[in-house]
């Protein structure tokens, strides 16, 4: 053993050296670096997860926006359809109103005309009766009872008109 130099104090010194190195490397190398590696790993994992989450969120909101757009489009279409319907109805109503008014106007006009004509005819008839009485007076030269005359002529005219109408 002496030949290759095994020496207890020296061996102890080397053991102490190893322990010192082990401790110092533990403090200065392994602990900080391992901590940093773990930290970085955790951080990367976090970031990846976050990115995934954000991606998911983006997809979600995109879907939501799409849905919103779809509903908005549908609503718009519904509104347009409704508006068209209302317009149609209004047009219809206006047409109807106009027609009714025209009709009523026409009816009114017709009754007016009828009335005017009746009145005119009546007047004409009066006039005619008066003229006829006057003429008859002149022709006959005899004063008849005015009332009788009138009645007589009225009867004649009545016959005439009935005759005309039939």
């Amino acid at each position: 053993m002496e030949g290759i130099g095994i020496n207890l104090p020296l061996l102890l010194a080397f053991v102490i050296n190893f322990v010192i190195l082990f401790t110092l490397l533990g403090i200065f190398l392994y602990k900080p670096v391992l901590k940093m590696l773990d930290e970085r790993q955790a951080k990367i994992k976090d970031s990846m997860e976050q990115a995934e989450q954000i991606k998911e969120q983006a997809a979600h909101s995109e879907e939501q926006i799409k849905a919103h757009l779809e509903t908005a489009r549908k609503e718009g279409q519904a509104i347009i359809a409704q508006a068209t319907q209302i317009g149609e109805r209004l047009k219809e109503e206006a047409k109807e109103g106009a027609r009714q008014e025209a009709e009523s106007l026409m009816a009114k006009a017709r009754t007016e005309i009828q009335r005017d004509r009746d009145k005119t005819i009546e007047e004409l008839r009066q006039e005619f009766v008066d003229i006829a009485i006057l003429a008859a007076e002149k022709v006959i030269n005899e004063t008849l009872d005015r009332e009788k005359h009138r009645k007589l002529i009225g009867e004649v005219l009545e016959e005439n008109t009935t005759f005309k109408q039939s």
């Binding site: 020496n7 490397l25 533990g26 392994y30």
Partner: protein, 320 residues
């Protein structure tokens, strides 16, 4: 630019190879090998003292009866180099590493991958510091020993012998022995810690059958008593062998590293003596390789023994 640099470097390559070749020839002819073969006297500058191999480390000075040897100084130097380097690397740790921090992280990550590859993620953190320390210590001991000031700067004693101030620390048998002892202590500690004293003892000695044999003997059953006692004694013998195999690990660790490193040192000495110039360079390359391999083997075997010591524990954890 590229072509110019290329032409330039070709010229330099040719010139330098001619220069190196000349040096090699000079070394061959005028070195001890050439002078012995060709019977010419070497120039005095190339005459080297005959290499003399000293297996025990040489003492440099004494403090209170304790001899500080050149190998001890070399191992201190290794510790100083390692600690200073990694202290500088990890002084300011940042999430985004700089160059020095990157170096430290690269070293740690490489070793951690090595340990995790063999031991798995869970046990790697237990085994890692010891394995990494052994690897770095052995490797830097071996590599520093290849620097020029090792074995050259020293003290000339009165009786004409020369004592170098630094000598490759791995070539002192006390150093491999100390690492082997530490490795042994850690392996046994891991085994004890993961199993507890009695169960760890049980992995060596299986007393079960011996106990069965004794109880059957007490009950008067002869046949089971005999077979139980027989098996019990065989188990005892196997356990003793197991204990020896653990102890032998220390010896094999020690002599593997010591032998390899000492042989490398002697090889370099002899080659330097025989052909003083150039021819030693490939051997230095070889020594780089051997230093790395020895460090890896020492660390790797410690790792494997550690895994074996922790293994029953891990199996248990997996089953529960």
């Amino acid at each position: 630019m590229q072509r110019m640099g290329c032409g330039c470097s070709t010229k330099i390559l040719i010139l330098s190879s001619i220069f190196l070749l000349t040096l090699l020839v000079i070394g061959l002819i005028s070195g001890p090998l050439g002078s012995a073969l060709l019977n010419i006297e070497a120039p005095s500058i190339l005459q080297l003292p005959k290499p003399h191999v000293e297996l025990p480390p040489e003492g440099i000075f004494h403090i209170a009866g304790f001899t500080i040897t050149n190998t001890l100084i070399a191992s201190w130097l290794t510790i100083i180099v390692l600690v200073t380097l990694f202290y500088a690397c990890t002084r300011k740790m940042k999430l985004i590493p700089g160059r020095l921090q990157g170096l430290a992280e690269m070293v740690v990550e490489m070793l951690l991958n090595f340990v995790e590859g063999a031991a798995g993620k869970k046990q790697a953190r237990t085994l890692f510091p010891v394995v990494a320390t052994i690897f770095l210590y052995v490797l830097i001991n071996a590599y520093l020993a290849l620097l020029p000031f090792y074995g050259t700067i020293g003290i000339a004693e009165n009786d004409g012998t020369f004592v170098p101030l630094f000598r490759a620390a791995n070539t002192d048998i006390n150093l491999p022995l100390s690492i082997a002892l530490m490795s042994f202590i850690f392996v046994e500690y891991w085994g004890l810690r993961s199993l507890g004293f009695l169960r760890y003892l049980n992995t060596f000695f299986n007393f079960g059958q011996l106990r069965d044999g004794i109880t059957s003997l007490a009950k008067g059953k002869i046949r089971p008593a005999i077979s139980g006692l027989m098996l019990g004694f065989i188990n005892l013998f196997v356990g003793t062998l197991e204990v020896f195999s653990h102890l032998i690990r220390i010896v094999s660790f020690t002599f593997r590293l010591f032998g390899n490193m000492t042989a490398g040192e002697i090889l370099l000495l002899v080659v330097c003596f025989l052909v003083p110039l150039i021819a030693t360079i490939p051997f230095y390359g070889l020594e780089l390789l051997i230093g790395f391999i020895q460090a890896l083997i020492f660390a790797g075997l410690t790792l494997v023994f550690g895994i074996i010591a922790l293994a029953p524990h891990a199996e248990e954890e997996q089953t529960t």
